[in-house]
Symmetry: C2
Subunit: 394 residues, 2 copies
């Protein structure tokens, strides 16, 4: 007994945005996408491209219609432009708006001052535009805003879902958990979280703020045809650790583990990420609630991940290797890590992907596109250093 | 045995910036100022002006030289332009840079989406530019960055100076105190604090982050001549509570106490604010330390302040009155408030101004400029509402 929802996806052209759109239409929801294709341009800027070839948006949408009979509406526009955002809310008055339209690369934000400023300014501006437009023309909309587990950093205590009961000097309060992010990008998400919490407080907007772990994978149940591929980044700027390890392995390069590899993070497959987002959309919080969800399956250290890739690749006849390279980031390489992640399970989330199975699929897909990886092998090795901006004179 | 320091003041044309410049040169320091006069334009934008007439910068500097024999260098430029900021650090390589160059009005940030975005974007950008320029060309500089006590909000527990020892689920860590700001402006300062903490972490920059209370007063020891006046704002957008109450009283208007007036905040006189900043500059933290100072003298509720103004004004033969007007802000009107403020005292800070004495001076100064207040009486009453953006279609 599913109720069909009207959902706008900001950033539908991105890795998760596209996969989510396919998943939501398969569930019978009415999906409208917004994008200005800036991620394609930013990936080009660093000399890279998606491992999986992706069609342009209008071809993508045609393929969806041909293969599934479903239609997705599309608006080309920039979420940092208030007129665009207000126009979208005014026209569609959606049940949910999923904000996946932010600059999402930590290394990109660390290239130099201009990339730092661009990241924080564009991310904060898009989110402010969205809450103002909701307040102005669509206050019933449920905003699902993509944050990151990286907002919390790696404190030496458990990480709750957004808020915690704290005792200090003999008094108690229930407060937002302190944030200790690790890049200008991650801090932009912290800034967003503060802004979203405040928009909820002053205007009573209904908001789910998703603290997501690192996402991996090339496929979801809906990506059944090459024409439906979502993007898959693998260069040092745009690729996440696990995706990058798989690409390195397919190319016969050693996996570049930063430092000792004890850095532990929460991970989730692309399939289960879009499952979680769909559950959040279908199960909004109470009206005027600000809800924080910690969205990941399991925590792994980077070296554990590399070893998993090693095992799976070995079984496939590839020749994996692991190299410890100097860590370009400033982060603890051994630390406590215990984030709580219960709320999504209580809403019905069940893990459907095992890491090894997903790695096997990723490797098979990448072997198919080995030429596209070969063509870009020079952009895989880390060049963006947290301590040394690349182009200080830019 | 004072060591002469070279100090750049970003925002030297502002209320505190100008008073600080006069105080530092009187102490024998070498002062360079940077400003783009945007506060003058923003105050004009809301139809207001400074109660005290202020000269233009070049006349101000000439007056300083004539009256004190001291020279202040000045650079006209915008701190949101990286080339300007880098140029200043490269040319002066200052011992200290005091960043007072941010948009500082909470109501201004709440006017509409454009003012919200302008506030957060310009504030964050200027601070990012400053830390990148320090990293790039002047890593020895001690940054003194103006934040606000308003970053903390009004939690039901004591407020430490930036960090606190927290116990959660049986484990302990020393973490940044959670922030719960009350306007887009205050949140921009929270965002800055995160960014400054991170710049310190990755690059080892030496930073003092000042969580300042509400500042009041028209005078410092150095403002001995009309030509040396600093600006004094009194309209609903740019005037702080106490300054506004004094102006209302001089005009024979009732003091506009928002709601029940139980909102309690930390306050400090302009004289003691510049004393604190001078102490912070002359006593930098350890190299590569990120130091947070809570900078205020005493906490008062808004209604207590109004009553103080009432008493002092009455003794002067004025006819004060107090009115409780609907609170345009979203804030608790009765709450616990106990921020710790010990570090500046340990560095030698001593309060030199009593509230009643300062109120008497403010009222005398304002009576002199009654005509300038009369001319702008229509911009005193609150129009900016936290719940209802003024110009949603702007």
């Amino acid at each position: 007994m599913l109720i069909e929802l009207r959902v706008v996806i900001g950033g539908i052209d991105g890795y998760i945005g596209w996969a989510l759109a396919l998943h939501l239409v398969s569930r019978g929801h009415n999906v409208i996408g917004v994008d200005n294709f800036v991620t394609r341009r930013r990936v080009e800027e660093v000399g890279s491209w998606s491992a999986t070839p992706i069609l342009d948006m209008y071809e993508r949408l045609k393929a969806v219609e041909e293969l599934t009979g479903q239609r997705i509406e599309f608006v080309e526009g920039d979420l940092t432009d208030y007129a665009v955002v207000r126009g979208v809310f005014n026209k569609y008055k959606p049940d949910a708006f999923v904000h996946l339209g932010e600059q999402r690369s930590a290394p990109y934000s660390m290239i130099d001052v201009h990339h730092a400023v661009e990241t924080q300014v564009s991310n904060i501006t898009s989110s402010l535009n969205i809450v103002y437009a909701m307040k102005d023309v669509s206050p019933h909309t449920h905003l699902v805003k993509m944050g990151t587990m990286g907002e919390y950093g790696t404190p030496n205590i458990d990480i709750p879902e957004g808020f915690f009961e704290v005792e200090y000097n003999g008094r108690r309060d229930y407060l937002p958990f302190p944030r200790m992010a690790g890049s200008w990008y991650h801090w932009s998400k912290v800034h967003d979280s503060g802004n979203m919490m405040f928009a909820n407080k002053i205007w009573g907007l209904t908001i789910t703020d998703v603290m997501q772990g690192v996402v991996y994978g090339t496929r979801t149940d809906e990506i059944v045809d090459e024409r439906l591929h979502t993007r898959f980044d693998f260069d040092e700027v745009w690729g996440t650790a696990l995706n990058r390890f798989c690409v390195e392995t397919v190319l016969g390069l050693p996996m570049t583990v930063y430092g000792r590899g004890g850095q532990t993070r929460g991970f989730i497959s692309l399939t289960d990420s879009v499952q979680c987002l769909r559950i959040a959309i279908e199960n909004p919080p109470d009206k005027s609630e600000y809800r924080v969800l910690n969205q990941f399956d399991e925590a792994y250290s980077v070296i554990e991940l590399a070893k998993k890739v090693y095992e799976v690749a070995k079984r496939k006849g590839l020749e994996p290797a692991i190299a410890n390279v100097p860590n370009p980031r400033v982060e603890a390489e051994q630390h406590y890590y215990n984030p709580i992640h219960e709320k999504l399970k209580r809403l019905g989330y069940k893990r459907t992907r095992m890491l090894e199975d997903e790695l096997s699929i990723i490797l098979d897909d990448l072997v198919k596109y080995r030429d596209r990886l070969e063509a870009k092998r020079e952009v895989i090795f880390p060049r963006t250093d947290w301590r040394k901006p690349r182009n200080p004179l830019h």
